[in-house]
């Protein structure tokens, strides 16, 4: 077109956009408001985890010396599978209802979108763990409320949510997402699972910090690597 000139993006519009941290905050508020009203994630996840714990308790007849050996594993299996349930449902309902696309056309940093989802699931699982620990202590007659666990639980939970959020989005775009998420996610979570179980068992058995520290190191490294990678890769994964 003769004489045509290309318009420019308004600098004012760009300046008025919320910062990365504020985007995360706004989205986290949205997640909290939706969950507080619907309880669509928390209730099923808590019920599922407690049922899993009780089922394992009766299936393995956990009494006496066996309990300290297997209880940490059972606790983390309940947390891991509950996490997958929450992640699958959280992203699944957004893609099903079309609200996810609304987020994709918004002027958001995709990293903020990822972090808000991961943090929301992390908080949800933290609430679950607050319920699960006393129930576990009651069933397995173990000191699940030792201080060291308050370090292992957030680190292990962050491991699940950091990778899980990325893979839940990949699975949400497939037809058999409920089956796809565990298939994609579980092999990657083996290091977190092993480190979380070992560290939890160590703290319950009263091992020294030096003996448990390597497992904590594995969890910290895993969380840092996958939080960074997932924040960077989320943009690519959200491309159709």
């Amino acid at each position: 077109m003769a004489g045509a000139r290309t318009g420019t993006v308004s600098a004012e519009a760009e300046r008025s956009l919320p910062s990365f941290a504020f985007q995360v905050w706004i989205l986290l508020g949205k997640e909290a408001a939706i969950e507080l009203r619907s309880k669509e994630l928390l209730l099923p996840v808590v019920v599922f985890a407690i049922v899993a714990l009780v089922s394992f308790h009766f299936a393995f007849d956990l009494r006496g010396d066996v309990s300290p050996l297997v209880a940490p594993g059972i606790l983390w299996i309940a947390i891991f599978f509950s996490g997958m349930l929450a992640l699958g449902r959280s992203l699944g309902r957004e893609t099903e209802r079309g609200s996810w696309e609304g987020m994709l056309v918004a002027p958001l940093d995709r990293g903020a979108l990822y972090l808000s989802k991961a943090l929301a699931t992390f908080l949800l699982l933290t609430v679950l763990e607050a319920v699960l620990l006393p129930v576990g202590a009651l069933f397995f007659r173990l000191p699940f409320l030792v201080p060291g666990l308050f370090l292992v639980l957030p680190l292990g939970t962050l491991g699940v949510t950091s990778v899980g959020t990325l893979f839940a989005l990949m699975a949400a775009n497939t037809r058999a997402r409920e089956a796809m998420l565990p298939i994609l996610l579980l092999p990657l979570l083996v290091p977190v699972m092993v480190a979380s179980v070992k560290a939890t068992g160590g703290f319950i058995d009263g091992l020294s910090w030096g003996e448990v520290q390597p497992w904590i190191g594995v969890l910290v490294a895993f969380d840092l690597i996958f939080l960074t990678l997932s924040t960077l890769l989320f943009d690519t994964v959200t491309e159709e």
Binding site: T8, V9, L17, V105
Partner: protein, 241 residues
């Protein structure tokens, strides 16, 4: 116009746009531009490529071949998206939140100024002021579409991309659609619709797509409505026969 300064600025520039899904081509070699203040209506039958074209312009899809720029920038950049308002087949709302809360959420994400006032005005304009505090899940399909229009226009975007904005609206609301969408009357928009009559009302330029290709563009092929109707009959109603 001879001066480059006096000509309207180009907002959308698509060159050789092709989108393929495997061996199926949804869009083939589409080139067109939209200048400031233009209101382009995309007409076409199901599968003509209207939605694919809008999704490419919105940055939701990446082209298989060719390029698309908004204000000279790829549309997936946040600074571009901040100035675009989109309505789609999905309403984009969170049904647990109220109409007001949904608009507040999107308004904050788009950095809309004077947000509370802007929300009130947007809800009034689309006739939803009375439903502002009701959860979206309790609203009818038509009301949800009105809310989608309020959301898309809340931040006063410089470009509107509207995929069948009339969906779910009753006859009265369809009559008010131009007021809902273009309160200032000068907005730039690309609108996809099946409805020729609505397209003629809303548009100032008409593009007919068929088989993923542009078959008619009123800018180059003649602007009178009779010509638009004739080409619509040929390419949309009779499938190009």
């Amino acid at each position: 116009m001879t001066s480059a300064q006096a000509s309207p600025a180009t907002i959308v520039e698509a060159k050789g746009l092709t989108k393929a899904y495997g061996r199926t081509y949804a869009l083939q070699d589409v080139s067109f531009s939209v200048t400031q203040g233009e209101r382009v209506v995309l007409l076409g039958a199901n599968g003509a490529g209207k939605t694919t074209l809008l999704r490419l312009l919105a940055g939701l899809l990446r082209p298989t071949e060719g390029s698309v720029l908004l204000w000279g920038t790829p549309p997936w950049h946040a600074r571009c998206r901040a100035q675009v308002g989109v309505t789609s087949h999905a309403s984009y709302h969170y049904e647990e939140l109220t109409a007001w809360e949904n608009l507040r959420l999107f308004g904050r994400l788009y950095g809309a100024s004077n947000l509370e006032t802007a929300i009130e005005r947007a809800l009034e304009r689309v006739g939803l002021a009375a439903q502002a505090r009701e959860p979206v899940r309790t609203l009818s399909r038509g009301m949800q579409q009105r809310l989608a229009i309020a959301r898309a226009t809340l931040h006063r975007p410089a470009l509107l991309l509207l995929d069948e904005p009339e969906t779910g609206l009753d006859a009265a609301a369809q009559g008010d659609l131009a007021t809902f969408l273009f309160p200032n009357g000068e907005e730039t928009a690309v609108i996809a619709t099946h409805s020729l009559s609505l397209g003629l009302t809303l548009g100032r330029r008409w593009v007919i797509l068929s088989g993923g290709r542009v078959q008619y563009d009123s800018q180059t092929d003649g602007e009178d409505q009779a010509r638009v109707e004739k080409n619509y009959q040929m390419y949309v109603v009779h499938g190009g026969r």
